[in-house]
Subunit: 373 residues, 2 copies
Amino acid sequence: MSLENKTIYFTRGVPPVEAFPTQQLQECAATVLEEHSDTVLQYHPSIGYLPLREWLAQRHAAQPQEVMVGNGSLELQGFLAELLTSPGDVVFVEKPSYDRAITAFSKKGLEVVSVPLEGDGYRVDALEALVKEHHPKFFYIIPDFQNPSGITTSQAKREGLIKLAQQYDFWILEDNPYRDLRYWGEEIPSIYSVQQALTQDEGKGKVFFFSSFSKLLSPGMRVGYLIGPQDMLKKVAKIAEDAYITPNMLSQGIVSDYCRRGWLEPGIDRLRNLYRPKLETLIDALETHMPQARWTKPEGGFYLSLYLPPEVDLEHFRDQAHEKGVVLSDGNGFFADNDGDSFLRLPFCALSSEEIREAVKRLGLIMQAANRE
Amino acid sequence: MSLENKTIYFTRGVPPVEAFPTQQLQECAATVLEEHSDTVLQYHPSIGYLPLREWLAQRHAAQPQEVMVGNGSLELQGFLAELLTSPGDVVFVEKPSYDRAITAFSKKGLEVVSVPLEGDGYRVDALEALVKEHHPKFFYIIPDFQNPSGITTSQAKREGLIKLAQQYDFWILEDNPYRDLRYWGEEIPSIYSVQQALTQDEGKGKVFFFSSFSKLLSPGMRVGYLIGPQDMLKKVAKIAEDAYITPNMLSQGIVSDYCRRGWLEPGIDRLRNLYRPKLETLIDALETHMPQARWTKPEGGFYLSLYLPPEVDLEHFRDQAHEKGVVLSDGNGFFADNDGDSFLRLPFCALSSEEIREAVKRLGLIMQAANRE
């Protein structure tokens, strides 16, 4: 089928099949079953596989006891939320934020309040006012190449958030699965590593760091992790044990072997080279075909977000796009207050550069027509 | 170390390392990564891997749409309980029952009422009276080689339960992970398959069947499954998706390949031959060394249970056993009402026959001394 007639899905944040290091994973699976079958095929404490926890601890300058590995970071966030909150408590997310996290918190009976984002992260005045009003139990934040907006929180705002969390006694849940996928620009330290440098008095220990191998290796292997204070992790591990006894040990063994062979960093380089041209193409196509729209300029990750001009009706726009063979997600799920009327998330990693250019061209034609109406 | 000085753990229901078909799993891992990496390394609908669901459907005379596969059956039970109940509802378990299931239901705010067991399953009079009193949302039952008692529910009681569930409108949650591990005696159809033979009027559709590959293949791979009405499974799958997006697909792919090669049935035969002599030894040792005690005579599974004579204090007995190098579990966790004062679960599969005989010999000496006191 020619590209012109193809339906293009700007919908899910999934890696393309060519991102998976299948042969390497085969080797790792063979090795771990050869050498560690007695551990990876057996029941195991819910805190996770020690060799992987040790490797992650070293990578994040933490202690192995401060690292827990589970079946994906979303589920670990659910367990931690269970520990930190009771139904009726207020928690904060960014506006917009990851739809599945919003759902998970809402299902626990939490009141999810959203903190408006601007180009370099949360709006300082808004956050301070909301904190004083609501006294949240935690702020769930995706500081690097945020899902869905693509925005990265500035260093100053990371430092400010740690101070505010200390002052008003709330936890920071830093979800950072895209951090390693920076395509250009300068790296900013994670919130977790910023707080590591602080003294106890300045707010040390108020941050949990989540990440995952879903975007770096494989989502189907379901390996995510949590770094935080040891005493709290023991309690999270008990909640996990009550839910599933043991996490998937075979996957953890394979991922551990992959990391210990030194394959993760070259693998990340390969992904950066795979995804960078896609994002460059997306930005170039938007500049060419949709100069009227406002969009974020992410420096990495999986998503760019687009704000339609106020005169364009989003539902109508999505319907027209669908007719022209471009499928777009409903953006409302990313807004805890359902206020996503002009917002479109464009996940670009699973599409080819040609598909990205063609899809944006079609969207541009629709917008031009809308402007003429 | 000689056996006489060795500490023997009669504690956890885990398979011994020699139970794992490691080489076969290596082959399956290589194959599934070779042929299906685009599926098993990717995100996937939470209902599970279709080839495995199809294979399981055939094995249980169900439809693939009636089969959901997740990360172990305990977690699936949690999801189903979330669907079927609200906090404050009453649910039934056997007395005793699986401690982790009792915990999972209690943590959801359910009132867990226990139905006394006798040699061939639940006590009919007690169940009927409790049903009339409490109108439970479901009865969680382990009909084959029950954990922890080792008891098997008779065919008549399986049929009676289905009728009662129909009459009083409650669900049956049949947890049946040990069913294939029958060492002697005649197989009784699962509750699920008994109800399949019924007409709609007689109670069809009130049973969910759970099982797992933890005891047949590997606990560390975390593959469990649920069979039940399609419309209900869709809702359970939504709850699972909200919790973990996608179950572990690599494990499901490996298990599917293992089953489709025809390796499961010979594997089960091998396990029966591995475990049968252990149970024979345990029963023989009990007859020799502990004639005063009452115990169940399981025909399969992982557990035999022992009821101490009323004059023997369980806590004191466990302390003395520990001193003599036999570690025994606290039995109270298996009793929703904490009424496990004379109960001991003896999981025999992870021990050698020599260890089993030695451990029972030591327990017998303690009991004889207790009787002389």
